[in-house]
């Protein structure tokens, strides 16, 4: 098996001198046009919202200028990358290139590339970087909470840290699994040569990167005090850093909607012959369910943030009581997006877990149809539960039993996933490789997350817990314990395919055990803190709670250290040792393992024909149908 270096070396780079190659549509041009666009928008903003028109004359702030700056900055960035080339060529009647940079060596990773495998790697690295930034914020938050009174940062910086951590994780990680793994593997799993809309696929990635930088830029404009929920009217009152939050989340929304649309179109229209819906890998099913949620929920977010931006700039009053608006409106609109969003984070994790289990247990997936109905059930129900975030808000007090019921019902389809996990493990021949360890950890974490969610869905008990650390512990168990653990399961499982290289297994096991033990050691005590009445998002607390808080902080630091082991492993194994991976180290029967490594640009020489699902493991005991799976066409 060849490695990535041969893939990078194979296509001959153009013989032009370096300075000639720097001119053109690439990342450098994009950054220059992005910065230029930003200052252009800033200038226009000051022109139209100058001293004579200044709405907020009491301060030197100009939200119009900042919003326009971000807008033109993003547009310039995308034009610089070359996203306008195709439509402009078509408009001018010139021949347009359908594909971008698919043969260009390492350079294709740093620009607009329409190869879904390149986009997958781009996502993996890009999201990894922002995940690291979000994680550093968490470390700072926990360092501050070592003492019951503020020591490290002021209240404003503290809230900005909390907001950046939450928004970064909730925003960037929506594509945490769909970005890297679905982009890379869905076409391979369904026997397609590309995504339905390759250029839009690249656009989703670069939009997300622009968004990430915009969110980080909030520190230059005073940060934002609202946390990731951005509640009005505090949102309207906040300084210019709030605009970074608005633009960040709106861009994430656009990226999410486009990503979902692309996935849906690909999965519906580009399956290879024989790959019926009932043979589709369960991971592809989970991607499909997530994509539906993305397409339906993200536009709501974009619209809400647009309304918030109008309130902040041209003095509309959607959310301001004084002008006839309502703060409830924002809460409703936000959570109508926000609750499906939580399942956008969780669902792809279900898919990875169920996809990996058969491979490591050498058994077919138990209850394939039950698992699908579980996922579709969760995604459907997730649109009917949003007011459980508003149980004590006083809105629709009489509707609370309905939202309590719908929220509790959602644990039935979630329970299907657990039954499928347990059914597949029953009498298995499990090999405890690192990915399977993460699957086990996921099952435990999501169990705790799910059960604590039932406590929160009950209105009387939620009265005591709403807005406390209990809630915080609950969603960290579902999102970090669910999404991030399945994300790492995916990394350890698929990196041998994506890069053709092995990750060191001893370091991987150290990473796993430290992460699992200290994840629980960090977040289990938070349930107790919440039950003892500690609210979220505060940097001061009762001195009596310091012991537990210190325990949590120190555990969090070790949890952070376990991530450093992972990063060290990546650098050590992928840059220094570079041990080639076997072609199919896990003896998987799924299609992605039956194409050569590195995967050719066109994936398949011949489109494969499927005649079963990829879970044809095990010795047939009684009567079982199903023939051998199709091996790769290549």
């Amino acid at each position: 098996m060849s490695t990535m270096s041969t893939a990078a070396a194979a296509p001959a780079p153009s013989g032009r001198p370096l300075w000639r190659r720097l001119i053109g549509f690439n990342l450098l041009t994009a950054v220059i046009l992005g910065v230029g666009g930003y200052y252009f928008g800033w200038w226009i903003g000051h022109l139209i919202n100058g001293p004579s028109f200044e709405y907020e004359s009491a301060t030197d702030e100009n939200d119009v200028a900042l919003l326009l700056g971000y807008f033109f900055g993003v547009v310039g960035f995308l034009i610089g990358l070359g996203f306008a080339n195709y439509p402009v060529s078509r408009l001018l009647g010139r021949p347009a290139s359908l594909r971008e940079k698919e043969h260009e060596g390492m350079g294709r990773y740093f620009g607009l590339c329409t190869d879904h495998k390149v986009v997958g790697i781009q996502y993996l690295v890009g999201i990894g970087v922002f995940f690291f930034v979000g994680g550093l914020n968490a470390m700072l938050i926990r360092a501050e909470l070592l003492k019951p009174v503020p020591t490290l940062v002021g209240p404003n910086q503290y809230l900005s840290l909390v907001g950046m951590h939450g928004t970064m994780m909730m925003g960037m990680m929506t594509s945490g699994i769909l970005g890297p793994f679905a982009n890379y593997f869905v076409p391979l799993m369904i026997g397609a040569r590309r995504m339905a809309f390759p250029r839009i696929e690249a656009l989703t990635f670069w939009l997300l990167m622009a968004a990430g930088f915009i969110l980080v830029s909030t520190i230059f404009f005073g940060g934002f005090p609202t946390g990731w929920t951005g509640y009005e009217p505090l949102n309207d009152e906040a300084v210019m850093g709030m605009d970074s939050y608005i633009v960040f989340f709106a861009l994430v929304g656009v990226s999410m909607a486009l990503l979902g649309l692309n996935m849906m179109a690909t999965i519906i229209t580009m399956r290879a012959p024989g790959l019926t819906w009932s043979r589709l890998p369960i991971f592809v099913w989970s991607v499909f369910a997530t994509a539906v949620l993305m397409v339906l929920a993200a536009p709501m977010l974009i619209a809400t943030l647009l309304m918030a931006a109008l309130d902040r700039t041209i003095n509309t009053s959607f959310f301001l009581t004084a002008g006839g608006g309502s703060s409830y409106l924002f809460e409703n609109l936000f959570w109508f997006f926000g609750h499906p969003e939580v399942y956008i984070l969780a669902l792809p994790g279900f898919g990875i877990i169920l996809e990996l289990l058969p491979v490591f247990t050498r058994k077919p997936l138990w209850g394939y149809r039950l698992a699908i109905s579980g996922m579709l059930g969760v995604s459907l129900l997730s649109f009917f539960v949003w007011q459980h975030h508003l149980f004590v808000s006083g809105i629709n007090g009489d509707l609370r039993p309905f939202y309590m019921l719908s929220t509790e019902i959602i644990s039935v389809p979630t329970g299907f996933i657990f039954l499928c996990v347990m059914g597949t493990l029953w009498k298995a021949r499990a090999t405890f490789s690192v990915p399977l360890l993460f699957v086990y950890a996921w099952t435990f974490n999501f169990l705790i997350g799910g059960l604590s969610g039932v406590v929160l869905s009950d209105v009387p008990t939620d009265t005591g817990l709403h807005g406390s650390f209990f809630v915080m512990a609950h969603f960290h168990y579902t999102i970090m314990g669910g999404l991030i653990f399945s994300f790492f399961a995916g990394i350890y499982y698929w990196v041998p395919k994506m890069l053709g290289l092995r990750l060191n297994e001893t370091l991987a096991k150290w990473h796993f055990w430290l992460m699992f033990i200290f994840f629980n050691s960090t977040f289990l005590p938070l349930f107790v803190l919440g039950l003892k009445g500690m609210p979220r998002r505060v940097s001061t607390y009762e001195p009596a709670l310091q012991g537990l808080n210190d325990w949590v902080s120190i555990s969090a630091f070790v949890l952070g250290f376990s991530m450093l082991i992972f990063i060290f492993n990546v650098i050590y194994s992928l840059i220094f040792v570079r041990e080639p991976a076997e072609a199919n180290p896990w003896r998987s029967k799924s299609m992605e393992w039956h194409v050569p490594t590195p995967v050719p640009v066109n994936n398949f020489e011949q489109i494969p024909v499927f005649d079963s699902d990829p879970y044809d493991y095990g010795t047939p005991v009684p009567v079982t149908g199903g023939s051998r799976p199709a091996t790769a066409g290549a």
Partner: protein, 280 residues
Amino acid sequence: MSAPIDEPNHTARFATLWVVVTLIAIPLVIWVIRPLLGPGTDSDQAGAVGTDFTVLAVIATPVATLVVMFLLYSMIFFRQPKGQMLEGPAVRGHARVQATWIIVTSIMVLGLAVFGTVRLESADGAGSGSGPSPLTVPRGKKLPVQVIAQQWLFTYRYPTYGGVETTELVLPANEEVEFHVTSLDVIHSFWAFKLGVKADANPGVDNVAFAKPTKLENFTVRCAELCGIWHGYMSGAGKVVTPEAFNTWIHQEQTKLAPATKVLPKYSTTYLPEPLRRGE
């Protein structure tokens, strides 16, 4: 699921293990873990929430033990033998197990929802903010107290005592209190942890919650909704006193604060805020 003859009867073994562990765990949850946590019994509402908590924890225990014991059991007994590459049984499902699971979980969930609804609509569960006109209201005489939240403090008005406004929340013991929670600027949340009361304070909204404090004590009021940079410092003192002491106190306050009360806006369930501009 037919097993080879030499394999132990996993189903029976695991079922026994699960039942035993659950039977051990449930008393532990009720009598050891539960009393360590939670708001206690300092008001009718806090006591009711505590009971609900115990019920939910007991229902969750068998589910938790089922999955956890299953994971441990499978880790021990369903391993690939060392150095071998055996395949597991090619079983793709089991209709009866699946149907049972769906029925049992659905019944549990519906039961939970019914339980939650009954508890919510009984007067005991009225500690949560229920909007301007709650469906169920505790019976008997009630003392109305308005909670006014603003950045970053709580003040309290007693409409039945001439609309006097105080900075300390003083409540008579064993009397039903009707909180009317509202805000003058952003969203806050009125949280009297020990009393089991939590109600969001929204600008222009009258959010009603009830509590009947039963114990003479001091308690803390905190804000439970992020409301700006001093959110972490937005707390106030409260105390529960005997009805006689309350009467004495409120009449003293009325006299002492009469000049201030005169210039306050007339008591109203909401106070529409002035349009806010940044920097003001």
